[in-house]
């Protein structure tokens, strides 16, 4: 895993900077608006509402945090909405890797993460590779062997062509020379149904989503896409341990702010999320959802995003997805 080292380094830097940061002088004078790119119930919306609840419960902010949904364009509409609040100290946005992928492939996404002010990294989302419980594939190598012997006969269900699911597949195909089809489904439920119904052979899924299926004996986990093995999946090899050390792109969730946010306000939010991260509620949330802690401060988030974007652009170009930036 290429990003493991960076992550460790970032974590060290982050810890150092948090303990060193003085309490900022600026405080919100009204409710904070948090812009998300999905409708109510989408991934970032659920995260933002959970954060809003934790901030209130732990009394970390004087007022409240309102979640504002700006769905459309895989983050492009929300990015534009945040950029419109230039210089505002009471608006933040919850972003995810999708925003980067979308900006790379769509010319219409005029505002990108580079136009916004990085505040703090929050989470890294690990994933697991699963097959149906009665599948002949016991290890990832079994699957790859068949994909090499009979190219094109196996199928993977997943999301959009720019999603992590497909990037993992492409990386594995490039490394091993195996070939299998990628079938896109808009909804997570449909992807799982396609696997459980035996219509596809393999899928990349969030650990928490797979948990119950594995426990009920409906799915088997072949490998995990995570920096370190997940607590919930003991004994399951990471990609590297399984013998497939391919470059992977971390799925991150982070907080960004409008361009030219006042310095003292930025320092306040940076510190706010550093403090949130230390609360019991946050730790429980991360554990319950089987996320990995992805905290970084503003400066490191900026570097991190640039690194992810460069890696992603390389991946897209190598598999023939047209990039516009």
């Amino acid at each position: 895993m290429k990003f493991t080292k960076t992550m460790c380094a970032l974590a060290v830097v982050a810890l150092a900077s948090v303990s060193g940061a003085a309490q900022a002088d600026w405080k919100p004078t009204k409710n904070i608006d948090a812009i998300v790119h999905t409708g109510p119930g989408g991934g970032n919306d659920v995260l933002a509402r959970a954060v809003a609840q934790m901030l209130e419960k732990e009394k970390l902010i004087p007022g409240r945090m309102n979640v504002i949904n700006k769905p459309g364009g895989n983050g492009a509409v929300a990015a534009a909405a945040i950029a419109e609040k230039k210089g505002d100290a009471h608006t933040i946005g919850f972003v995810s890797t999708v925003w980067l992928a979308n900006a790379l492939t769509t010319a219409e996404a005029k505002v990108t993460l580079h136009d916004l002010t990085p505040v703090a990294g929050l989470l890294v989302e690990p994933a697991v590779i699963v097959v149906r419980a009665d599948s002949p594939f016991k290890t990832l190598k079994d699957f790859i062997d068949v994909a090499k012997a009979k190219p094109g006969t196996l199928k993977q269900s997943g999301g959009s062509v720019t999603s992590r699911d497909n990037i993992v597949r492409q990386a594995l195909q490039a490394k091993t020379g195996g070939k299998w089809a990628f079938v896109s489904f808009p909804g997570g439920g449909e992807r799982i149904a396609a696997l459980l119904g035996g219509h596809v052979d393999i899928m990349v899924i969030e650990p928490q989503e797979a948990g119950e299926q594995v426990r009920a004996g409906k799915m088997r986990v072949l490998a995990q896409i995570a920096a370190k093995p997940l607590v919930a999946y003991p004994g399951i090899p990471t990609m590297k341990e399984a013998g497939f050390d391919v470059p992977l792109i971390p799925q991150i969730r982070a907080v960004m702010a409008p361009p030219e946010m006042p310095k003292d306000a930025l320092a306040y939010y940076e510190d706010l999320f550093a403090r949130l991260r230390k609360t019991a509620s946050w730790k429980k949330y991360v554990e319950d959802n089987q996320f990995e802690d992805g905290y970084t401060n503003s400066a490191d988030l900026d570097k991190w995003i640039k690194q992810i974007e460069t890696d992603m652009r390389g991946q897209f170009q190598s598999i023939g997805i047209k990039t516009v930036r």
Binding site: V46, N74, A80, A181
Partner: protein
């Protein structure tokens, strides 16, 4: 008698005064949310979710289920009264419901919508309780080729929705299919017909188009100076506002049709209640003795789709509760809620949390009863709304539409689109194009395209994947539906030739 025991246990849970209160509150809130266009059950549940952390999970789930059912009940109200679909699944209800209101039968339409919802809703809970496991297997058997055939079957209904000219109906449907293709393509990440607009990357929400071509164009047509702004007739007296016994008899097959289609489509993770309501409307019309009257205000045209969209609720619980697979936006949030409360929704859920499962089943029964009791007395009240003079009524329709669209996307761009589609709807009216096929193409187009491409990706481009038993059967039915009108035409010509008197 596990079922009986379970159900008794469930009623014991659901009938505690506290849980009954949660159920009532959920149903009431759901009805309000359903009546307001733009705000749907998924959004409401997501917003209420943080509040439920502090509640007892059973009570909270009962409340959320009440919202889910209630929204389906309430969705028909504005469709019938104002031609503004309150929920995406109530779009079809506009076709006959609003025409009934124009003929002074708004009360009957509203009442029938509540009754059909009750019957089909209750049916789907019984079905959920009795046949969930085998149905779950069926829902997994459905994959891309099956969905494609189902969508094709849906599209052939354009023949049934066509007015005078089939050509015009087909043209309208093609425009619908075109709009459905706009936005970012899932398979290649290519932007299609976005005209360089960021807001267009996500495509056009079909609710905007539906409210535009139904409601806004209705307002425009009524603003023509040549027409006097007459008030709609509203009969006096509670009895005259309710559906008659004859109405109930007319709808007996519609209840059955709505229940079965709604439940069946509900169990499929890739379909949804809008498709269910369109399908049951089409089927109702195809076997009706007077198909030509559909669209002019027949009561079966309200009962079938309203029944179907309520039966979908029980159906969609099947994959959620037995497999842990959410089929719609609302069930996805219910799943998230279960996880947040510390439950483990998945294949073992029913076995490990029987109190929760049976409590939910019982609360769905009770919810349907509460909703019927809640909605019937509201019928005369809502029907009075039509006594409003035109100068108040049409601004009200405009206001409700605009606020509804703005709440759902909070963007001015959507309002621009609303105006545009209002104009499109008005022109279609003037040129005598039917608007329902446009909506049909829009609803089914996206899913149909995806299903076909998924099928071909699975089969490496081999079309024979479409001749598996289920898709083949569905495609044959679709072909039959397309051919029948030709025979009918042939028959009428033949009758004329044989009988010179005609």
């Amino acid at each position: 008698m596990d079922v009986i025991n379970g159900l008794m246990q469930g009623f014991a849970v659901a009938l505690t005064p506290m849980n009954l209160a949660f159920g009532f509150f959920g149903c009431l809130l759901g009805t309000i949310v359903g009546v307001l266009p733009g705000l749907g059950p998924a959004a409401t549940i997501a917003m209420l979710l943080p509040l439920t952390f502090k509640l007892d999970p059973t009570g909270a789930l009962i409340m959320l289920a009440g919202i889910y059912c209630g929204a389906k009940y309430g969705g028909s109200t504005t469709s019938i009264l104002l031609n503004v679909p309150g929920e995406s699944s109530s779009v079809v209800t506009c076709l006959d419901g609003y025409q009934m209101a124009r003929k002074g039968r708004a009360g009957a339409a509203l009442g029938m919508s509540a009754i059909a919802s009750f019957i089909a809703g209750t049916f789907s809970v019984v079905a959920l309780m009795l046949v969930a496991p085998p149905m779950a297997k069926l829902s997994l058997a459905f994959s891309a080729p099956e969905y494609f055939a189902l969508m094709v079957l849906g599209l052939t209904m354009v023949v049934l929705l066509a007015g005078q000219s089939l050509t015009k109906a087909l043209l309208a449907m093609l425009v619908g299919l075109w709009i459905a293709g706009m936005g970012t393509d899932l398979f290649t990440a290519t932007s299609r017909f976005t005209f360089g607009q960021t807001e267009m990357l996500g495509g056009i929400d079909f609710v905007i188009v539906a409210i535009g071509v139904f409601a806004i164009s209705e307002v425009m047509a009524n603003m023509e100076p040549a027409k006097p702004l007459d008030m709609l007739p509203v009969p006096k007296g509670w009895r005259n506002l309710m559906p008659t016994w004859q109405d109930m008899k007319d709808c007996r097959y519609a209840f059955m049709n709505g229940s079965l289609i709604g439940f069946f489509v509900g169990i499929l993770p890739g379909a949804g209640s809008t498709i269910a309501s369109f399908l049951s409307y089409g089927i109702e019309k195809s076997y009706s003795k007077h198909p030509e009257k559909f669209g002019t205000g027949v009561i079966e045209g309200v009962a079938a789709p309203e029944g179907a969209n309520n039966a979908e609720t029980g159906g969609s619980m099947v994959p959620l509760l037995t497999l842990g697979i959410p089929g719609s936006g609302t069930t996805a949030i219910l799943l998230a809620a279960l996880v947040l409360w510390g439950f483990k929704p998945g294949p073992l859920f029913i076995e490990e949390s029987p109190a929760m499962f049976w409590g939910l089943i019982a609360s769905l029964y009770i919810g349907n009863v509460i909703l019927l009791i809640l909605n019937l007395p509201l019928v005369p009240l809502f029907a009075q709304l039509l006594r409003m003079p035109g100068y108040a009524m049409y601004p009200l329709i405009l206001g409700v539409s605009i606020v509804g669209i703005y709440t759902s996307g909070s963007s001015f761009f959507s309002l621009g689109l609303l105006a545009l589609f209002g104009l499109v709807g008005y022109l279609m009216r003037k040129l005598d194009f039917p608007t329902a096929p446009l909506i049909l193409g829009l609803v089914l187009g996206d899913g149909m395209e995806k299903a076909l491409r998924q099928s071909l990706m699975m089969s490496q481009g081999d079309l024979s994947i479409l001749v598996r038993p289920i898709p083949l059967g569905l495609l044959l039915v679709a072909g039959f539906l397309l051919i029948v009108p030709l025979f009918k035409k042939f028959n009428s010509v033949r009758v004329k030739m044989v009988d010179p008197e005609l």
